[in-house]
């Protein structure tokens, strides 16, 4: 039975926050975020959802260079991390992190790279202290191109090798939608052993090598050990007109203009026909879990379940 998951924000329950979002002046704390996470687990249990992406802001200001008062939160919450991790294990809940776009391990700026590594280390440590198995991962991208595509890839490998063992063990790499394709992350995998997360929409948008989808998916799945279920990201492209704001050069006033879609944007819900076609394309490959990246979050997941039961009952039976 493969899992369906969603990312961070819960829309199906009003007021259910994903982390302690108070400003630093109000002393937010990881322990409060963990209480929110516990409440989210209660909701996931009620909806039989067994895969979830935790907010990257779970530990507020944890690595902020000017706020040392927040730096000790992980140690301070050892008991609470273990307890919430136990809840996840009891519920067979697969958890992950996906750090923000500001985490750039391959940045030429050593300071930015160092701070990025700190964020990755912190998230890996949180999963570790929760006592979670190797399915619980921190998903990252290669980063920017900067001084050249190959140099940027090489720099990612060097920086990865400098990470602590714990972080290297939890980190996985995802193809992106503009710069580093499945072929690129496979290149990095061959040098580092990093597990790969295949993202369908990124692959459609960034596949200069013309690698067929099934081949790309199979190659990513093969990077995972036999006893660990791989995961993939799935989303549908947003097709609506976009409303952008533009300054009229003649009057200097801002005005709304309609623009065609950007195919890298996620839709609110998952197009069930695309999802079914994707699973049919993956038939015969090893089983994998699917993290849905849709703006309607858990509502999109619940709707996809209904759609699968209606349009592809044979697949619905294999998915939870």
């Amino acid at each position: 039975m493969r899992r369906l998951g969603f990312a961070v924000k819960v829309l199906g329950r009003p007021g259910l926050k994903e982390h302690d979002s108070r400003r630093w002046q109000n002393n937010p704390h990881l322990s409060v975020s963990l209480a929110y996470l516990r409440d989210i687990f209660e909701y996931l249990r009620s909806q039989r959802i067994r895969m979830y992406r935790i907010s990257s802001d779970l530990a507020p200001y944890l690595t902020h260079p000017d706020m040392p008062q927040f730096h000790g939160q992980i140690e301070e919450c050892a008991v609470e991390l273990e307890a919430v991790g136990r809840l996840a294990q009891e519920a067979d809940l697969r958890l992950s992190f996906h750090p923000s776009q500001y985490v750039l391990l391959n940045a030429p700026d050593e300071d930015l790279a160092r701070r990025s590594a700190m964020d990755l280390n912190a998230q890996a440590e949180i999963l570790e202290r929760m006592g979670l198995g190797p399915e619980a991962v921190v998903v990252t991208h290669v980063g920017g191109v900067y001084d050249g595509h190959e140099a940027a890839r090489e720099r990612f490998v060097r920086r990865f090798e400098r990470l602590p063992e714990l972080t290297r063990r939890r980190l996985v790499l995802e193809n992106d939608d503009q710069r580093f394709s499945v072929a690129d992350v496979l290149w990095i995998h061959r040098r580092t052993g990093l597990r790969l997360v295949f993202d369908n929409l990124h692959h459609y948008n960034c596949n200069p090598e013309g690698m067929p989808l099934r081949e790309a998916l199979a190659a990513c799945l093969a990077t995972w050990p036999a006893d660990v279920t791989p995961k993939v990201h799935f989303s549908s492209p947003r097709t609506e007109m976009r409303v952008a704001e533009r300054k009229d050069p003649a009057t200097g006033r801002k005005e709304a203009v309609l623009q065609p879609p950007d195919w890298t944007n996620h839709s609110d819900y998952v197009n069930p026909f695309e999802f079914i076609a994707f699973l049919r394309e993956a038939a015969g490959l090893r089983p994998f879990d699917v993290m849905l990246e849709a703006k309607a979050k858990d509502l999109a997941l619940l709707r996809l379940r209904e759609d699968l039961a209606r349009f592809a009952p044979d697949l619905a039976e294999t998915i939870q």
Partner: protein
């Protein structure tokens, strides 16, 4: 007090003066892990004080910012009760800042028992009475407003039955010659989140309740009919009263 009206507030219950003094003087409140509600996390705790508080009873008067959560045993929290039967049980110790008195208290009209209520700072500050605090699914909110507009005073999430087996009734109405339980099937955060079994009609009937059930579709597409059914039953039971 923060101006963030979306800040999360958990209304907790204070049953005795000792727990009030602990909250005020030592800055913490406890929730047993095993019996914790579906939501425990919040930016603030507010306190519903029960009859033990005399003139200040059956109302929310105080609010305090949440500082942090810890998981500890009861024995660690209350070392003067080492032989308590639950001394070894795990509790959430919710550490809080100074108690702040609300601009105006939030009373319960019917002097009712409640469990925890998750709400927001905005709702708390605007509430006229306890029933204004709850989040309601949209169809429930529309029923709530429609009942008010029809001149009916309902109690939301009223606890029917006796502890520890009480079950929340979505809307309770008290009449001259009986009481009505309005249940919204497949609605309501409480039942689904907490995995509560729906209370069968016969169990409510045995407790003296007349039961009306509405589905999401009823409340969305046929709200006037639903309100009409409630009004008819209230009339049949002698009109509004104390049940």
């Amino acid at each position: 007090m923060s101006e963030d009206l979306d800040a999360a507030v958990l209304v907790a219950v204070l049953n005795n003066r000792r727990d009030f003094e602990i909250a005020r003087d030592q800055g913490w409140y406890r929730i047993p892990v095993k019996r914790a509600p579906g939501r425990v996390a919040a930016d603030y705790l507010a306190f519903y004080q029960t009859k033990a508080f005399g003139d200040e009873g059956w109302a929310v008067h105080y609010l305090a910012p949440v500082r942090r959560f810890r998981i500890v045993t009861r024995a660690e929290l209350l070392p003067d009760e080492p032989d308590h039967p639950r001394a070894g049980d795990a509790y959430y110790k919710v550490e809080i800042g100074p108690l702040q008195r609300l601009p105006r208290p939030i009373p319960s009209r019917s002097l009712r028992r409640i469990t925890f209520i998750p709400t927001t700072l905005g709702r708390l500050l605007a509430a006229q009475e306890i029933n204004d605090l709850w989040w309601r699914d949209d169809p429930q909110e529309r029923l709530w407003r429609a009942l008010r507009e029809a001149g009916l005073q309902a109690e939301y999430r009223y606890l029917a039955g006796e502890p520890p087996d009480e079950v929340p009734v979505d809307f309770a109405l008290f009449c001259q010659e009986g009481r009505i339980a309005v249940l919204c099937d497949d609605l309501g955060e409480g039942r689904r989140t907490l995995g509560e079994p729906p209370m069968p009609d016969y169990a409510l009937a045995a407790g003296g309740w007349r039961v009306l059930r509405f589905t999401r579709e009823d409340l969305t597409d046929r709200l006037p009919t639903c309100v009409g059914a409630v009004l008819a039953l209230v009339h049949q039971l002698g009109g509004p009263g104390t049940g």
